[in-house]
């Protein structure tokens, strides 16, 4: 099979790396060759972060080139807009309808751009999800990442993999239930 490319983007601290870890573990257990690349360093300090996940029969490069992603999952709107160029012409994007101000907005130099979702929707096949709100409704906003993971699993046709088992092996016991619920909520909403 042709190598598939999934890009997860967000802001440091949003849980993109954990979502990518669950995703890659499931893909490996399903028998795919998998590579994942991420850039650490300043990521905890509110900068943009991305995890690049590739899977197929034989994956060479760990990076995803611009114009080649099957799907981009944006944990934050502005990061979604920034990452649009990763997508193939017929690629899809899942955007979490949430706003985190970059420093220039915090200090009042810029205003957070308006109309981001409209801009994305006008150019690509995009699903807007209120994953952060859904996570709060489930009782813990930290599971936003697994809701978004659920949506990718659905859209990439990976629901056959035993994700509940992957979650239960990789998440602290007291958080397994809520993460499984989050996963299904994400799949259903996608």
């Amino acid at each position: 099979m042709e190598t598939k490319n999934i890009v997860l983007v967000g802001v440091g601290g949003q849980g993109t790396i954990t979502a990518a870890k669950l995703l890659t573990t499931g893909l490996m257990e399903a028998g795919f060759d998998v590579k994942m690349s991420e850039i650490h360093g300043m990521s905890q300090r509110g900068g943009s972060v991305s995890s690049l996940v590739r899977y197929g029969d034989n994956v060479q490069s760990p990076v995803i080139e611009i114009g080649s992603a099957d799907i981009v999952v944006a944990f934050e709107k502005l990061e979604g807009l920034r990452s649009m160029e990763y997508l193939k012409p017929k690629g899809k994007m899942v955007v979490n309808d949430t706003e985190i101000s970059p420093l220039s907005v915090v200090i009042g130099t810029n205003a957070y751009p308006e109309g981001i979702l409209e801009e994305i929707e006008s150019k690509i096949d995009c699903r807007v999800m209120s994953a952060s709100k859904m996570a709060e409704a489930l009782g813990n906003n930290k599971v936003t990442n697994v809701i978004l993971l659920g949506s990718v699993i659905k859209l990439m046709g990976l629901t056959e993999i035993d994700w509940e088992s992957i979650i239960s092996k990789n998440v602290k016991e007291k958080f397994i239930d809520i993460n499984v619920k989050a996963l299904h909520a994400g799949m259903d909403a996608a």
Partner: protein, 593 residues
């Protein structure tokens, strides 16, 4: 057993499987996780060293003492450790020794993009370069065999993409290796000129042998796809080349990259019409291949800076531009990293940034961000520890010129002070400087993700360790003027700076407050009982919308542009109170969470 591992995890696993018993490092992106993973294996004694020179010397000592040793560092760390590396190469080893250098093509978290393959040539040590995690694990094991067989430390070049990318690794069990007896042998371990001359000859002879090894090792292999295009590649650049050319080229994959397999290269090139050389950064293989009279194409077409990713290869060699969907560029705002909400560096840089009479020499750590808005404080940075010595030099120049319009402040963190600030501070005192040094002691090595250091009271294993007292060190360096303060108290911070700039002779301010992301130890909880237990709120009745609080640059603040009032995100704020002190109308209140 198959596992999905990063390159750094694979190195740790490989070292464990290879029977390594001692490992040491100073943290630095992208190498930090190597030791953090090594320490999960109980069979390996693992330590954080205060700097890379100390780490490499200790690993050399462990190797002379008779156990397989590992040391790891980021690329610029090898500059610090270069002194022992060159002579260790001449001494050779007793048990095997591997030095990992993690280079940064693309400079994601570094101040330069130096190519440490040059060090292999310069120090005359052999080198491995893996292209993914499986190779990282396999090559580490082979590197110990090579180190012992050819009597030299092995340099092991990783790059950020290999360090931080995950791929599938077939794991094996640990194979214990017999410890080597230690025998006194001054001709081997004491490089006095009389002995060192012999060592050089031995090293040269071993290198000759390694040329044969390089031509025969399975880590240098040909993939013959019956193509007229031949690709010679190393590291992740080989993977990128395969991504682009697939089976439309034949490949010579070089994993043991110094000395190069010149025989195999000549054989590979013989029937090819075009040879491309894929390597990240400097044209090192390319030059050596060309010097051997073999025509090839390399950096005349491919970039010498940044990563050699597939899109750049396509553009440079195939003239292919990828078509992409572009967003409206006017809507894109950059998102640079910033001091966290509750970061104890905020108070210091807020006060420093307000003054226009300072030349601020900063250092390597999160506080590098002090150069950014809204602080715009920093003037210069070079490398670990340079804040104090660089500041001393600037002060000397100002004195020589008789220009006293600016006063010099050197600023660095606790771990950087231990790394190489201490010797610089001695220089300041010894040579009668008049600079102000600010040591931001946030009780941890912050930037690389919270590693213990000699000041924190814990070691790499998380066990209690003696605390090296920064205040005592500063006094022992001869500094007479010293105060310790809470950096979240802006009045205190401002007064301390004013005091430090006006006392006779060198002064030191130590700011002491834990990093907001640190998992507080019991020691921290005793010392900072109120840390991160509060939050701030804006009293909208009192707020006049002047935006002065935003000058703190805190990501917990949000200005409501409709109602023209400041707001604070409760889930982000930890109640440091810096914004509350800046507010001219006392509209921000600190509450207990």
């Amino acid at each position: 057993m198959k596992k999905l591992l990063t390159g750094n995890e694979a190195i740790a696993r490989g070292a464990w499987e290879a029977g390594v018993k001692y490992a040491t490092a100073y943290p630095g992106t992208p190498s930090t996780e190597i030791l953090e993973n090594v320490t999960t294996y109980d069979e390996i004694v693992s330590e954080w060293a205060p700097n890379e020179k100390v780490a490499l010397e200790t690993a050399a000592g462990a190797c002379i003492g008779g156990v397989r040793s590992l040391c790891a560092m980021k690329h610029v760390g090898l500059n610090v450790a270069a002194d022992p590396l060159f002579t260790f190469a001449c001494l050779g080893v007793n048990a095997g020794a591997v030095v990992v250098t993690a280079d940064e093509p693309g400079m994601f978290s570094s101040q330069n993009e130096q190519d440490n393959r040059n060090y292999a040539r310069h120090a005359k040590v052999c080198m491995f370069e893996p292209s993914d995690s499986q190779e990282a694990k396999d090559m580490i094991k082979e590197a110990y065999a090579v180190s012992e067989e050819y009597d030299m430390p092995v340099l092991f070049r990783m790059t950020t993409r290999v360090c931080h990318s995950k791929s599938i690794v077939e794991c094996q069990d640990r194979k214990e290796v017999a410890d080597k007896p230690y025998e006194k042998d001054i001709k081997k371990y004491c490089p006095l000129p009389a002995f060192a001359k012999g060592m050089q000859v031995k090293l040269a002879n071993n290198f000759k042998q390694l040329e044969t090894y390089s031509n025969t090792t399975p880590f240098n292999y040909i993939e013959d796809n019956k193509s007229e295009i031949g690709i010679i590649g190393s590291g992740v650049a080989y993977r990128y080349a395969k991504e682009v050319y697939s089976d439309k080229a034949s490949y010579l994959k070089i994993g043991f990259t110094y000395p190069l397999p010149m025989g195999k290269i000549a054989e590979f090139a013989k029937d090819k019409k075009t040879i491309y050389v894929f390597e990240e950064n400097d044209p090192i293989m390319e030059k050596e291949i060309k010097a051997a009279g073999i025509a090839c194409i390399g950096k005349e077409k491919l970039p010498t800076m940044g990563e050699l990713t597939p899109d750049r290869i396509r553009k440079a060699l195939l003239n292919e531009e990828v078509s992409t969907i572009q967003p409206n560029p006017e809507m894109i705002l950059p998102r640079p990293p910033a001091f966290c909400a509750g970061c104890p560096h905020r108070g210091a840089f807020y006060e420093l940034g307000r003054r226009k009479d300072l030349m601020i020499f900063s250092d390597i750590g999160c506080y590098s961000l002090g150069l950014m808005p809204p602080y715009n404080a920093t003037d210069a940075m070079i490398c670990m520890g340079a804040s104090i010595s660089g500041g001393h030099g600037v002060q000397k120049a100002f004195d020589i010129k008789g220009d006293h319009s600016k006063k010099v402040v050197s600023i660095l963190g606790d771990s950087t002070f231990f790394h190489s600030g201490i010797t610089s501070l001695m220089n300041v005192v010894y040579n009668k400087s008049n600079t102000l040094t600010i040591i931001l002691d946030n009780r941890i090595t912050g930037m690389t993700g919270h590693q213990q250091n000699p000041g924190t009271g814990f070691d790499l294993k998380g066990e209690e360790a003696p605390i090296i007292d920064i205040e005592a060190m500063v006094k022992a360096c001869g500094v007479k003027e010293l105060i310790s303060i809470d950096p979240n108290n802006l009045e205190m911070m401002n007064d301390a700076i004013e005091w430090g700039l006006n006392v006779e002779g060198p002064a030191v301010i130590i700011t002491r407050w834990p990093c907001v992301l640190k998992k507080l130890s019991n020691l921290d909880k005793d010392e900072f009982p109120s840390a991160f237990k509060n939050f701030c709120t804006v009293n909208v009745e009192k707020c006049i919308g002047c935006k002065k609080c935003l000058k703190s640059g805190c990501p917990a603040l949000a200005f409501d542009t409709v109602n023209k009032k400041s707001g604070i995100l409760k889930e982000t704020c930890v109640g440091c109170g810096v914004c509350a002190q800046i507010c001219p109308k006392q509209a921000i209140e600190v509450e207990v969470r």
